[in-house]
Symmetry: C2
Subunit: 330 residues, 2 copies
Amino acid sequence: METKARIADVARVAGVSTATVSRALSLPDRVGAETRDKVLRAVAQTGYRVNSAARDLRSRRARAITVLVPNLANTFFSRIIASVQEVADAAGLTVQISDSMVEGPRLHTFGRDGRSDGILLLDGTLDAQTVAGWGVPVVMVCEWLDAPGMPGVGTDNVAGIGLAVGHLAALGHRDIAFLGGPAGNVLSDARGQGYVDAMARSGLTIRPQDRLDGDFTMESGARAAHVWAATPESATGVVCASDESALGFISECDRLGLRCPDDVSVVGFDDIEFSDRFIPPLTTVHQPRAAFGRQAAELLVAALQNGVPLPTQRTIIASHLVVRGSTARR
Amino acid sequence: METKARIADVARVAGVSTATVSRALSLPDRVGAETRDKVLRAVAQTGYRVNSAARDLRSRRARAITVLVPNLANTFFSRIIASVQEVADAAGLTVQISDSMVEGPRLHTFGRDGRSDGILLLDGTLDAQTVAGWGVPVVMVCEWLDAPGMPGVGTDNVAGIGLAVGHLAALGHRDIAFLGGPAGNVLSDARGQGYVDAMARSGLTIRPQDRLDGDFTMESGARAAHVWAATPESATGVVCASDESALGFISECDRLGLRCPDDVSVVGFDDIEFSDRFIPPLTTVHQPRAAFGRQAAELLVAALQNGVPLPTQRTIIASHLVVRGSTARR
DNA sequence: GGTCATCATGTAATCGTTTACATGGCCGAA
DNA sequence: TTCGGCCATGTAAACGATTACATGATGACC
């Protein structure tokens, strides 16, 4: 109980071989009931814990999956991770969470180093070659890579922004701006495209001043508010590529003396926890984050444990609009 | 390059022994420059990646530390984790993040299973016996356990709440309520004590209706708002045990037609990212989260790599008050 | 020139499991 | 009774690295 007990210690105490101890613990049906009890008693008495390095080495699997998040500080991801953990837990797998922003140099050792059997990748900015080199199953969540044939779970971002634009148009807004995400990001591109499509569909025109730069963060939303406020004939409605930037935008408008939704209607994208409690509560496109995590984890677990081949396409889960207080009739 | 290459493959390609390969990679100074180059070329050619299960097993260390967080969805923790990762990265250690809420049953196998060499524990509600059984160095962050002699890093919660109460008192508030945290939590207790102390010091009395129940969450803050609004002669200032509950409180007040800070002044605790962007921006007690993470990680790394003994007391880092728009003169 | 330290490298034991294969006991069928 | 099959268990060979110890070369010093 004091120092680390090994399986041989348990075997000695129980009066059986190490093989029997191993089987009693991982395949209880394969040993006699009496022996099993003896082993379990010995385990309790010695305080034995399996050494997972040894186990992983011998069995050539880690019984763990890794969730690779672009930025842990972004609250959007936590709900996804929570449901991944539920699924993995039920399957007897451990979840390791890493931040790809920090793991930079270590990134290319990921699968091959044997620390995890599969990866849930929430970062679409990684090099496709690096990912291909991991050598373990990978499922993308929300974002995706340019590489074709990679399994993934996410929403239809074009359609999502369409809901937002449609909502503002229905409220009588004619000049609708778009506060975008970081250039080069697949979500930014898709949502930007959704804006263009939806404006055309609604018969509205996009003026140069209707495109506001951002990068999903609150700070970028605040900066965009200054640009917007300084523009003549500025838009009366703003669709944002993320909730955080929407909140930053509204917040900075407030400091400039402009009220939402009286002076400007704002729609977000994501539906993070804070949006419902903001003043005003944010109208936004709700993403089913729990479903993303659950479904992605289920795909990975099925591939790992039952050999079910991973799909070669993204699974699309629909988003829907949540109308709250940040949008009003023009 | 295709299938997994082992160290023996690299050795063969480079024309040296496995021992030399191992040394060339982990102790570059101990091999000749020419040999080192040969090995590195062979590594590149074979696509070799060290198998960490084998390495961990043989060297009896995991080169990893675990951060155990009570709830990943709480944005308070992300900044702490980020600075932990910086320190660990510089020391060549991997950071594994786990949610103690989910890991429940697996919790007791933590250190002993050899997956990590040390633990940063952000959850003060764990059983002290379980923690003692881990058998690896543990440093508490923010919260702490009842067990004495355990190293930790955090702030003086009593003093922190004192700043908040003092601020409201200085603004002329005489009836100051306290929106507490979950019962039994060490932070709740300390902050509750800070409220009692500070009220006494300011010569103010605490009436029964000045104690509002909460659990750090936005929802609990919202519920407390109803209680507060329904109370006759309710307090004019509210000190909250967390930012989230403060934001929930203000948000719900707004829905009830009561404005902050005109109808009530509110102070939070934590200074999470959203607080600065709330409307109104939240006056709150700022916790140096980056410093918490950095200092705790440094203690652990020093203990792990240089054998520096861990302190037997908590390291206190001062908090300070950030005055924003949610408090006003009575 | 002999001795010894130093250095680069090789040989092989070792870390703690899992698991393929072997063994022996027991039981039912022929 | 004999044989085959099944079951519970034991024996020992992996898994893939690190590292204590051994070896041989080199060069400094007296």
